[in-house]
Symmetry: C2
Subunit: 333 residues, 2 copies
């Protein structure tokens, strides 16, 4: 029933499978009259090409793999959405894999996708170091683009936000609005976002004066950690708490309010990423917006337009944007 094949169309239109294939794929010019009959027969029978057979023959599945650390990380869904739309628009389908932040699972998933003959792989690596081998291996087989996070230099093409620039935006803003004693709540992991944001904070914070900056605490990218870190930092009474991402900032915000601190009057709080939650926090969170649609567009562009015989790796950095909200308001002081 739903098993209409090229052969059926050929029989119905009185010509060979080769011709039918040519008409439908537009591979080679074919007589106007025959083309018409073929197209009509195909429509009448409701022919849909079997993509698996097509893939086997043409060595291209029209499928790209997307491997990410944790779909439940609120930054990823919008990215996945943009990627899905961009890829489906070109007729490619997305094989999704969630590796649960575990490099071993990640490697297994990558393997599974490669076995399925994906044309290309989009990967948000779980760990800067431990993902490296799997990435190298995969990059040798298919076009691969690293997204959001890096994985050592020159491993593969990559697209990410300029974390240093983003952190600079935050620090400039805080300085401009009169904050003098910032501190930092970061993530200890080796994920490149953690490392870069941490480093950028250290660099930028120096401008506040030699010993102005308070301590920096390192944990993970979670709300719980944000809460916990505040307990350690608040006694020193910083006037700004810079967080490595929005989840941490939300936690910090919560705990500060519990402790009776006045945000933003007494202390400003900033995040990073601009996840949906950021705008909903109270007070709304000042943060750095990642250009998600641009990240997705650039990633798919890198996948598709890969210059032949172009060995060198491309690393695209997109500039983020500062989103100032209530949590760092000046007027309230």
């Amino acid at each position: 029933m739903a098993e209409v094949t090229l052969k059926d169309v050929a029989r119905a239109s009185g010509c060979s499978v080769a011709t039918v294939s040519r008409v439908l794929a537009g591979t080679r010019p074919v007589g106007a009259e025959t083309a018409r009959t073929v197209r009509e027969a195909a429509a009448r029978l409701g022919y849909r090409p079997n993509q698996v057979a097509r893939a086997l023959r043409s060595r291209s599945t029209g499928t790209v793999g997307l491997v990410l650390p944790q779909i439940t990380n609120p930054f990823f869904p919008s990215l996945v959405r943009e990627l899905e739309h961009a890829l489906h628009a070109e007729g490619r389908a997305v094989l999704l894999a969630d590796c649960d932040d575990d490099p071993l699972t990640e490697a297994a998933r990558i393997g599974a996708l490669l076995d399925r003959q994906i044309d290309a792989l989009l990967l948000i690596p779980a760990d800067e170091h431990h993902s490296r081998d799997a990435v190298l291996e995969a990059a040798a087989r298919v076009p691969l683009v690293l997204l959001d996070r890096g994985c050592g230099p020159g491993v593969a093409d990559s697209v990410a936000v300029d974390n240093a620039a983003g952190m600079a935006l935050v620090l400039d803003h805080l300085a401009a609005t009169g904050r003098r004693r910032p501190c930092f709540i970061g993530a200890a992991g080796t994920a490149s976002t953690a490392v870069e944001r941490r480093a950028a904070y250290e660099t930028g914070a120096a401008a506040f004066g030699p010993q102005a900056p308070g301590r920096t605490e390192l944990g993970d990218f979670s709300v719980a950690w944000g809460r916990a870190a505040v307990d350690r930092l608040w006694p020193a009474r910083p006037d700004a708490v810079v967080c490595a991402n929005d989840l941490i900032a939300v936690g910090a915000l919560q705990r500060l309010r519990q402790l009776g601190a006045d945000v933003p009057g007494e202390v400003a709080v900033t995040g990073f990423d601009d996840i949906p939650l950021a705008g909903l926090a109270d007070p709304a969170l000042t943060t750095v917006r990642q250009p998600v649609p641009e990240l997705a567009a650039e990633a798919t562009r890198l996948l598709t337009h890969r210059p032949a015989g172009f060995a060198s790796r491309r690393a695209v950095r997109l500039t983020p944007e500062l989103v100032v909200r209530a949590s760092s308001a000046e007027g309230a002081r």
Copy 2:
């Protein structure tokens, strides 16, 4: 290089492709000695079976489609995660499609996935009515399980939470904690979750007395709508605001606080779904937790164990759980 095929292994191990296939797939018993040599050769060459070829021949891709309305809806990521894990655990891969809440896009995506010869389809329908045709068509081709939302009776197997039971839990809890004048902020759409929760509220609210319940307002499943609805309902001073999902509840919570209302002292607020945001709201949101892991497990079970020649559709309803948090606390009154 990465192109090791069965033929290569056969040549390396000195036997035929048929034998190699049999050894590796374990299809048929084969001599112990030959099996050893074959396995060894395969390992040495690093043979990985080409799943596309396998799929073409065996008419099974080991791939299931997952189509959902909006991956950015915060309820879905955890569901996707569970499904991905369950399916990958059985060696199946997931083709993901996001239809942007649009039934037309949904139909197109379903078609694209079917062309790729998915073995089965998991679908969270975008709309109860407008998704129906596409669902019926798809269900005729592959095993299909509807998730979270329905699509008319008897269309396909389905797994969802018992919305009526969940709403009853909320209303019982409110009644038990002394609330007398509830009102409802729901969604107007025809998504089955919207319909069922709305109906369940109407039924349950009757127990509060003939004219006790305040108005019910219908919009969409969004934070913005929650805020807007409060402006309409608050003048009537309900002592409980029951919301059709957590997003609405978060919006309501925000607006109520802006208006100076005391939550939960003056008015309780409840949500539905228990998305991560619910626990982070201030005050933390009382809500109904959907049993996400169970939903996923049940869905994959229905996909795999489908009784041969079992025509009737199965509709599984899972019981939700009430999560009482600060937004409906009694002590605070």
